[in-house]
Structure formats: structure tokens, C-alpha cells
């Protein structure tokens, strides 16, 4: 193995790492194959898809334009609406969960109050409660309250993110020195001004991380909206694509059209926003993700 060689050159961290890079290359291929497949196959029509060409290369006629047109016009252009819904739910749920987590994490980290210990242990326990176990009773409660089939049915449950509170708690504890807060108080700042002007600016990386994590889990959510919504115009894009898949697999439902091409293109389009978000916010979340995994 190359271990000794690497070791000798370690301080410079320079080349000589070819075998490891080759391993990495194979890994990258494995992790990217599904993306490549989607990119290639969203250019095909149904005969191109199922007609026996290569799965990982383009068919003779590349049909992106036609598929895009179909994707955004099929069913009265419902796909665009689904994308907007996903964005709305992710935005509301993500922002809401982040705000709640920042407030609560700060409260837990910086105040010794009656009931703190008990509340914090319950919170830690809640991190381990499987959220899907809550879907059935929440659905029944919401339906009694007339909330099912409204956007609140999707947004309200996503506000609950005990893990985000825990993350913020850890981060606040380590990143906001008490001395700084005391200095602000001595200067006459109230508790909320201290929070807004002293603590908040220090918490930016953690806030971006928590926001991204909440947005991702909300954008990718399937079970909850599947159960809560019956009006397809309220669907997020995950449930919408699931609906199309069901339609394509039911006789007499798709009519003379093959939905598989737009299902594949729709899948591709639906993942682009999050990928862009991750790439552009790299700086922030890379630092933030260490929270909770370190001491």
C-alpha cells in the first residue's frame, strides 16, 4: 500500500495519492449513475425509453424540448404548481422550524429556569420518536379540526424539529460566550436586544445549516402530504410525481399518452432547486454540519 509514502509526504499533502483517487473516481461514478441516467433518459420519448436502446446513452432523437413542453402543459400545467407548492411548504416549514429552534435553543443554552432539566430531557427523548408514528393521530386530529387538505396540514407538523433545537442548543452554548452577553447587559441592553444584536450574528452558520436541513426534509417529505392532501392542486412535487406514477400504472388512466417520459423529466427538474441550494450555500453548511457530531 501507499500508506508509508503518504505518511512521508503528509505535511505537504501533495500528490502520490493516485490509488486513493482512483477509488474515489469509482465512488463518484456509483453515486452519479442515477443522475446520469435521469439526464439521458429524460431526453427520450416512450419508444426511446422502452424500445431497447442503451440505458446510459441518448437515443437517436433527443426530445428535451417536446418533453419539457409536455411536462409543463400536461394536466393543465399542474407540474409548475407542484413545484411552487413544494417551495412554499419548504419555505414556510423551514423558516418556521428554524426560528423556533433558534429561540428555544438559545433559551435552553443561556437560561437556567425552572423546569429546564425536565424539558430538556423530554426534548432529547423526542429526537428519537419516529415522526411517521405521529402521522396517523395527527391526521385524525386535523380532520376533526378541518385542517386536512389545507397547506397547514403539511406546514404545521414540519415546524416540529426537536433535533434542530438540540443542534442550536449545542451551538449557542459553544459559540456565544457569556462574557459577551454580560457586557451587553452592563451596557444596558435588554434580554431581547442582547439576543438580537449579540447572539444572533454569531449563530449564522448554525442557522443556515438548520434551515437547509429543515428545507430538505420538508422538500423531500412524502408520507405526510400523501396522507394529508387529497386535492392534487395542493400536492408538493414528490406526491405529484407519485400520482403520475400511479396514473401511468393504471389502465385507462393515462389515455393515449405515455407518462413515463415526463415522470423522468419531472424527477430531474424537481431535484435541481435543492442541488443549487446546496452548491451555493456550501460555505455555510459545511461548517454547520459539525455541530452535534463534535463534543
Amino acid at each position: 500500500m501507499s500508506a508509508t509514502r503518504i505518511e512521508r509526504r503528509r505535511p505537504l499533502r501533495k500528490p502520490g495519492q493516485l490509488p486513493l483517487q482512483i477509488v474515489l473516481a469509482f465512488l463518484v461514478i456509483y453515486f452519479l449513475i442515477p443522475f446520469w441516467w435521469v439526464i439521458v433518459n429524460s431526453s427520450k420519448n416512450s419508444s426511446g425509453l422502452f424500445g431497447g436502446g442503451s440505458a446510459l446513452w441518448f437515443a437517436t432523437d433527443i426530445d428535451y424540448v417536446e418533453n419539457f413542453r409536455q411536462l409543463f402543459t400536461y394536466g393543465g400545467g399542474i407540474y409548475g404548481r407542484w413545484l411552487l407548492n413544494s417551495a412554499l411548504y419548504a419555505f414556510l416549514g423551514g423558516i418556521g422550524a428554524t426560528v423556533l429552534a433558534v429561540l428555544a435553543g438559545y433559551g435552553f443554552a443561556k437560561y437556567r429556569f425552572a423546569g429546564r432539566r425536565a424539558a430538556f430531557s423530554i426534548l432529547l427523548g423526542a429526537v428519537m420518536v419516529p415522526t411517521t408514528a405521529l402521522v396517523i393521530p395527527t391526521f385524525v386530529l386535523f380532520s376533526q379540526a378541518g385542517l386536512t387538505n389545507t397547506i397547514w396540514a403539511v406546514v404545521l407538523p414540519t415546524l416540529l424539529n426537536p433535533f434542530a433545537v438540540y443542534l442550536m442548543h449545542v451551538y449557542v452554548r459553544d459559540a456565544v460566550p457569556d462574557e459577551l452577553m454580560d457586557a451587553a447587559r452592563v451596557d444596558g441592553a435588554g434580554e431581547f436586544r442582547t439576543f438580537l444584536q449579540v447572539a444572533l450574528p454569531l449563530l449564522r452558520p448554525a442557522m443556515v445549516t438548520v434551515l437547509l436541513l429543515s428545507v430538505v426534509s420538508s422538500w423531500n417529505n412524502y408520507f405526510l402530504p400523501l396522507v394529508m392532501l387529497s386535492d392534487n392542486r395542493l400536492f408538493p412535487v414528490t406526491v405529484g410525481i407519485g400520482l403520475w406514477e400511479g396514473t401511468a400504472s393504471t389502465y385507462g388512466a393515462a389515455g393515449g399518452e405515455s407518462l413515463w417520459s415526463i415522470i423522468i423529466l419531472g424527477s430531474l427538474v424537481s431535484v435541481i432547486p435543492l442541488i443549487i441550494a446546496f452548491l451555493s450555500l456550501q460555505r455555510y453548511w459545511r461548517g454547520g454540519l459539525t455541530i452535534g457530531s463534535l463534543k
Binding site: 394536466g75 385524525v140 379540526a145 389545507t150 387529497s230 392542486r233 389502465y251 385507462g252 389515455g255 405515455s258
Partner: protein
């Protein structure tokens, strides 16, 4: 139940408080099915009362517009809540929740008993049924009836037949089999000559296989709501076992495939010529064509023939699929809803659009007797007069089936058993016995008396 209401009300209050705390409180509608503001279609006559409708026919927009144009006293507000299983899950959820169901819902015939037992559907025999009674055959009505009640307006059906590839049949010198014995012989001939699989036995089409059991004289369920919860379950009688053993044999001899149907995998197999026949129903050519089958070099290879029989002297016609419009018990005005159920997709223009584009095989006898429909040369079958030769006779010979109120459970359990047959872990007979035990136990648990 009272305490439950109280708890639910308390819970609702808490949630409402939480809502108000973080949003300023927009209560939202009271559940989507009844909410007329979310129609997919445009309603122009805004002062007429509204009836909400869930349906997944692909030409539904046109059908609804036709209806709304013809009516001033009622307007239809239509949504597509999903096709088949997806819609059933949503409807079932709305039933249990007691809110959120539409006024009229599209269901397949085999689901009607499932919802009827939950009092989720309205008996529409008193709401204009007599006016349209003669438009449908007895078999069509039987499929939408439970006991003496009529719980749906029939729209389309799926008389079963055997679709086959002429080129494969010609190549191996076989003619369309008329009996199941001939079907197996032909399958063996093709296999011995190195040809493709002859058919497919998919685990995800229990409804089709139930129809095949029926064809051999099996009567899986007998149920009458007047019978005080009595239900007859006969899933392991000789007729059922014979059919399941027959297909299990075809599978183990490698004569037919075991692929789930309606999947991309199956479709690509059909396009690639992996299957010489497709035991299916009258809606199949439309479905296959939409999925890209029969294009290019394969343009004229498909044909259709009557379903093979167990006893050619006493042929039995069976049905797979086809849907009806039912009025739900959450409908605000059941009589008005029934008018919609009977009236939507019943006008000539809509029906014509349906059959000309091969979206539906209509059950309306006016269409079935229409020479233009009968003589239609179906493009998918290379101009074969499929309706005249195969589907219309099959539809006319169909006398209806008895469906079961525990159909959802039955299909799920049946799918498991078919999968067991397909991977060789059970014979057809063993699967039938296991199915009988499982379904009977469930029925007992649900409070039925199993006969």
C-alpha cells in the same frame, strides 16, 4: 364515542390555538372534496348548485365540459385525486375521517361493496335509476349493485379477451387457442421452438385472476347486506384450485412470465416481443398504444381473439375493470349528485370521444348496438374489427360478478399468494388454501359470520 369527540374537540382547540399563534389564523376550507373552489375545470354558470366529482378518465375535462354545457340546474366541479389505488386510499381516508369526500366518486365495480358496507355510498335506485335502466345490460347493473341497492352508474367495462402477436403465431404455426388446454399446448410449442414467453401471470393483477377463477365457475364471495353480516367465502374450491394450479404449472414450466403488469418493465417486455399473448380486457389496446406498443416495425403485429375457455360448449364471458360513478354519503344533495352520476359521461359526444380514442369500452347499450362502433376497424389491431369479432359479444355474454366488502384485504392477500406461486414456494392449491384461511380469519375478525 362521546369521550372521543370531547378529546378531539379539545385537541382541535389546541391546534387552532397553535395555528393562530404562528400564522394569524387562516382556518382554510373544511376539507377538499366538498370545496368547490378547487375545480380543475372552469365553471361558467356560477349561480347553479355545484356537485363535486373525483374521476381519472383521461378525457374527463371534455366530458365535464359537455355535461356543464348541457345543464343549467347543476354544474360539476371535477378533480383528479389519483388513478385507481391512489384515489381509493384518499376516498377511504375521507370516509373514515367523516369529511373530505366528494359528492360523486369514480370507482371500479369491484370496490363498490367495499364502500357500501361502510355506508359511504348512497343507494341511487330511487333517484332516476328507472330512466336509465334500459341503457345498460343486466350484468352491468349487477356489478354496481349490492343486494337490492344500486350504488353506481355504470360507465365502462372490461370484457376479457386474448390479445396476441400474429407474427409469433405465424412463425410457430399456431392458431389462436380456444381452450386453456390448447393455450398450454401452444405455449409449449412456442417454447420448444425457442420462442418467447406465451403470457404473463402478474402478482399485481388479482382482479384479472379473480375473473379467470369466475370463468371456471368459482364463486369466491357471496354477500347480501340484508343477510346480517353473513358472508360466503369460497377461495379454495375445486374450480379455483384448478385455475391456480393451471397457471402455477405454466409458471413452473417456464411457459409464462411472472412480471408485474402495467410497469415499465412489463411494457418494455411487451414492446420487445417477450410475450406472445396478453390475457386482458377491452381497454388494453388503448393502454398498450399509449405506452408505445405497436409502433414502427410492430405496427400491424397485434390481433385479438376471444378468451380461451375451460368448457368450449359452455363458454363463460368475464370482465376485468371498468368503472362507475357512485354518490357518496357525504354528498350534500344526494338527488342532485345522482343526477350527475347518471348524467356525466352519458351523452353521445362524450361517449364517442371515449371509444373513438380508445379511452373506454362503453357499457351503454346504445353504443354497443351502434353499427359504427361495432364495425370500427381498430388501428392497433391492424384494422381488425375487434369490437364486432371479440369485445361486443363478450360484453353481451357477461352476466356480472359478486364482489366482496372485504375486497381491499382480499386483493392484498391474493397478491401475496400469487407471488408465492410465482416464486415456487406454493402450488396453486396450497396458495388457494392459505388464501381461504387468511381471508376467512380477517372476515371473522371484522365481525362477519363466515358461511
Amino acid at each position: 364515542m362521546k369521550t372521543r369527540k370531547v378529546i378531539a374537540a379539545a385537541a382541535a382547540l389546541t391546534i387552532a390555538a397553535a395555528l393562530a399563534a404562528c400564522s394569524g389564523g387562516d382556518g382554510g376550507g373544511g376539507g377538499g372534496g366538498n370545496d368547490a373552489s378547487n375545480c380543475t375545470n372552469k365553471i361558467t354558470k356560477t349561480d347553479a348548485p355545484i356537485v363535486t366529482l373525483w374521476a381519472w378518465y383521461p378525457n374527463m375535462e371534455l366530458v365535464v365540459d359537455n355535461f356543464n354545457k348541457d345543464h343549467d340546474d347543476v354544474q360539476v366541479c371535477w378533480t383528479n385525486a389519483g388513478a385507481g389505488g391512489d384515489e381509493y386510499d384518499k376516498f377511504q381516508t375521507a370516509i373514515t375521517a367523516g369529511t373530505g369526500a366528494p359528492d360523486v366518486v369514480m370507482v371500479e365495480g369491484d370496490r363498490i361493496a367495499v364502500y357500501q358496507i361502510q355506508d359511504a355510498l348512497v343507494d341511487i335506485s330511487g333517484y332516476g335509476y328507472d330512466d336509465v335502466k334500459d341503457n345498460f345490460s343486466e350484468g352491468a347493473w349487477k356489478d354496481v349493485s349490492v343486494g337490492d341497492g344500486v350504488f353506481g352508474a355504470p360507465i365502462d367495462g372490461g370484457p376479457m379477451a386474448m390479445i396476441y402477436r400474429k407474427d409469433v403465431f405465424d412463425q410457430y404455426g399456431i392458431t389462436p387457442p380456444t381452450t386453456w388446454a390448447e393455450y398450454e399446448t401452444a405455449a409449449q410449442t412456442v417454447k420448444d421452438a425457442g420462442g418467447p414467453l406465451f403470457g404473463d401471470f402478474g402478482a399485481n393483477v388479482p382482479a384479472a385472476i379473480m375473473a379467470l377463477l369466475y370463468q371456471n365457475g368459482a364463486e369466491p364471495f357471496t354477500y347480501d347486506p340484508a343477510g346480517e353480516g353473513e358472508i360466503g367465502i369460497n377461495l379454495n374450491d375445486d374450480a379455483s384450485k384448478e385455475v391456480l394450479d393451471y397457471w402455477g404449472g405454466l409458471v413452473s414450466k417456464g411457459l409464462v412470465g411472472t412480471q408485474d403488469q402495467f410497469t415499465p418493465e412489463y411494457i418494455s417486455g411487451v414492446i420487445a416481443g417477450d410475450y406472445a399473448t396478453y390475457i386482458s380486457a377491452a381497454w388494453a389496446p388503448g393502454y398498450l398504444q399509449g405506452a408505445g406498443v405497436g409502433e414502427g416495425a410492430d405496427a400491424d403485429v397485434w390481433a385479438t381473439a376471444p378468451l380461451p375457455q375451460w368448457d368450449p360448449d359452455n363458454p363463460v364471458d368475464v370482465n376485468w375493470g371498468g368503472s362507475a360513478f357512485s354518490v357518496t354519503s357525504q354528498a350534500k344533495d344526494p338527488e342532485l349528485a345522482a343526477k350527475v352520476a347518471f348524467g356525466v359521461y352519458a351523452d353521445d359526444a362524450s361517449l364517442r370521444d371515449g371509444w373513438e380514442n380508445q379511452i373506454i369500452f362503453p357499457l351503454n347499450v346504445n353504443v354497443l348496438n351502434d353499427p359504427e362502433f361495432i364495425d370500427l376497424e381498430v388501428g392497433f389491431f391492424g384494422g381488425q374489427q375487434a369490437n364486432k369479432e371479440v369485445y361486443v359479444p363478450a360484453a353481451n355474454g357477461y352476466t356480472g360478478m359478486n364482489y366482496t366488502p372485504i375486497g381491499q384485504f382480499y386483493y392484498t392477500a391474493f397478491t401475496k399468494q400469487i407471488a408465492a406461486i410465482n416464486d415456487g414456494s406454493a402450488t396453486g392449491s396450497e396458495a388457494a388454501d392459505a388464501l381461504q384461511d387468511e381471508v376467512a380469519a380477517y372476515a371473522t375478525e371484522q365481525g362477519f359470520t363466515v358461511k
